[in-house]
Symmetry: C2
Subunit: 470 residues, 2 copies
């Protein structure tokens, strides 16, 4: 459940009503939710970098809006073709996996305004640059969440962002109490996992060795590489661990005496490609997204994100340079009152030794090992964690869903017969389980047409050349 | 010098006369070389999967040959624009880094035969699929070796492959003797590196702690992630470690009573996209390349490579299934005598805990951290190893070159003034050193034209729609 602790706010931290697994857990634990504040105008800063305030539709040129609309239609259509249970196994799986999301955006979008809107959205969502992500992974993630719009929308009628009163850390704490806090060993980093016929042994950095019948690993794929395994994990598992790095994200909480944005009719929401920067070494401003973070008791705050390459560039600046730039952007978005804050607190997730970032994404050419590598048990070792979840992959709800799956697998192993086939569905032990497809499809037919056109072109040039120099 | 031990044969293991750093070391150590055997016809299996034997030019269709020629010209022209010292800082650096090599191949090649020839070559060379590699990394690596042809050619007049009599392991052994074998600690895996104002401490898995003034790390970037650093390494370093995984390669040595390929007029060389496969779970045959590996004393042998995705697919098969498929391919290439071997020995480099593969490559969107991340010292820690070398990146010669660079850096720090500015050139301490560029260039102008065409298109549709439904 490592994933639960990182998502304290917005996006990964805001459960939505459509996220049934986390919602069920919250209900079971008697934790209350409250809606993300979204009343008032929003801010968009893309294209010309001019700050636009809007309530319903951003005041972008109609051409940019049509461009955006076409793109959303396209993604919604394509994501439906991808089964997140085995994403590589769809008719265009291989084609999409060989292409970066940046290439896909360049092919699909016509205007700079639309490009920057989508790129800012992707940065905020996956904390990576579109150039670092496989198009197939993007479509598959969208599919696991029920579509692009399910991820974007924050209007009150639909899957709106909810926050947990008292913070999401309570979930981990209650879980620990249920297990018995004496049975939870913190500060026991596992360095080696040894499997034998009879048991699985976990060796910790501090010298302790724990021996048990079954174990669950919920560490993110690339972080799991800090652990040595005997025998080694399957090549498919090791492959996805190599190709699923974490993105970069610095979260900033800025508290104020007054929620001036609300008084000004603003919701506190902003999406930005960064805007201009006058700091050497940073090609755009620091921010990708902002939202209201006022506590349920009413202490006013804004939550701002530095994501992807922006987080890398700005983390190399001095703390006060970064702070000034963040406050400058907030002033551009919400007025001069944003300049004078009570407190300014930064959290750079990439500095965390056992987290290493904010959200993990898969780079190109690795999706053929995604489903088997992230979900199939290996001997006595089972896998959970938000990454690779069947629903809401990368989100808290996905963390809960995959945790339940791993628990079901173990129950089936320890008490054979106690788990019905229906409950086993979605696990590798299900009678209907099909090992994920990893073969490449031979979609090379385009070379026939291409080759023929090329042959004609060469022929024409040869004829011309021949007639000129005869 | 970890890199030295992995490259025992062909490609990374064959020094070439143009690889001056390794050649100088061989001369210093009095080690003799002998040429790679290349006399006779070669084998090519691409496109229709028919096995073609040829001496000078493969019997591909003229269209495929022209396609290949155009591609080679294009790469030779483009790689000259990339400075391997700071690859991201060229006018098309960002554009090339957002594109997978697969996308580049699909844009550049017209015929299936040419595509498969180049893809087989890239697999053999980088042990990854073209879909997993940044186009900028590919061009930069080509540039570090003096061009595509310098990598491909094996004719006797030019930079021909040489092998070391007695094997390349001798280099490591002689180096160890020079340092004093008592000073070389094998089986002391470092798990933690702690830097302070006064010293750098290396903590080993077996409990030993070594304290010193300066340290060199030559582990491949992603393998270095098994080590914890206090304080953490720079974000640029950590970024390139995340995005430079190892490819997959299984090397196979097959010994025979007789070098029947030589008697049949064949050199033993083959390049293949894999050919057909009748094994379920493997979409192509196992091999990517083969060459002669007869020892200087005359014991006949062939060396065969399973590379990239082929290595992954075939490593999941039973050992005898894999062996049968390899021998079947060799029979297709060199005749029925290939079926009966004396010995068959496999080495899967991805099974090695501290190597994890054969050659490392950079995936898309990460090259902006390449030069600084792989070469700039971090406090008392210096970086060597074949990856990121200025010349022959990824090769033994690159390992020697970067080792000399790291030694120069340390000498400069320990004995200030003992190293001239000329000798410091190429290190981060050189007076003329410019920190590598990592800013994105604003090459978004294409959106102007694209946006305009799109606007016109939308306008025309609107007019048509208007005139139809008026």
């Amino acid at each position: 459940m490592a994933a639960l602790t990182t998502g304290t706010w917005a996006d990964s931290g805001c459960p939505r009503t459509s996220q049934k697994d986390i919602m069920a857990l919250l209900q079971e634990f008697g934790l209350e939710t409250y809606p993300q504040f979204t009343t008032g105008s929003k801010v968009l800063q893309v294209g010309s970098a001019k700050v636009q305030r809007f309530k319903w539709i951003p005041s972008l040129s109609p051409i940019v809006l049509i461009d955006l609309l076409f793109f959303i239609w396209k993604v919604e259509r394509l994501q439906k073709q991808v089964d997140h249970g085995d994403p590589y196994n769809c008719s265009r799986g291989e084609e999409w996996d060989t292409k970066t999301l940046e290439t896909f955006l360049k092919e699909s979008l016509w205007t700079r305004g639309a490009y920057e809107t989508i790129a800012a959205f992707i940065r905020s969502l996956i904390t990576m640059e579109p150039s670092q992500i496989s198009t197939l992974y993007f479509l598959s993630t969208m599919s696991s969440a029920g579509g692009l719009m399910a991820m974007v929308e924050t209007n009150e009628d639909s899957a709106q962002g909810l926050k947990v009163k008292g913070g999401t850390q309570q979930i981990s704490k209650i879980l620990a109490e249920k297990v018995g806090t004496d049975n939870v060993l913190l500060e026991h980093a596992v360095t080696k996992v040894i499997q034998s016929e009879e048991s699985i042994q976990l060796k910790c950095q501090n010298g302790l060795t724990v021996s048990c019948k079954r174990a669950v690993m919920a560490a993110p794929p690339m972080v799991a590489r800090q652990i040595q395994f005997e025998p080694q994990l399957s090549l498919q598992r090791r492959e996805i661990e190599k190709w699923m790095p974490f993105g970069n994200c610095i979260k900033v909480v800025i508290t104020y005496e007054e929620a001036f944005w609300k008084s000004n009719g603003q919701s506190g929401e902003a999406l930005t490609y960064g805007g201009p920067s006058d700091v050497s070494g940073c090609d755009v401003g620091p921010l990708s997204a902002v939202c209201d973070a006022t506590t349920p008791k009413g202490s006013p705050a804004l939550l701002a994100f530095l994501s992807g390459d922006q987080a890398i560039q700005w983390s190399r600046q001095k703390a006060h340079t970064r702070k000034n730039a963040v406050l400058k952007s907030l002033t551009d978005f919400f007025g001069s009152q944003a300049e004078t804050c009570l407190d300014y607190f930064e959290k750079d997730w990439s500095e965390e030794l056992f987290i290493e970032g904010a959200l993990a994404g898969v780079s190109t050419g690795a999706m053929r090992n995604f489903a088997a590598g992230l979900r199939e048990p290996q001997g006595r070792l089972h896998f959970a964690g938000a990454d690779g979840a069947m629903e809401w992959d990368g989100y808290m709800s996905g963390g809960v869903q995959s945790g339940i799956r791993a628990a079901t697998e173990i129950l089936h192993q320890l008490r054979p017969g106690s788990v019905s086939s229906a409950e086993l569905s979605g696990t590798a032990y299900s009678p209907s389980y099909k090992a994920p497809q990893h073969l490449r499809r031979k979609v090379k037919q385009s070379y026939m047409t291409k080759g023929l056109s090329f042959a004609i072109l060469v022929g024409v040039i040869a004829l011309l050349y021949g007639s000129l120099y005869r």
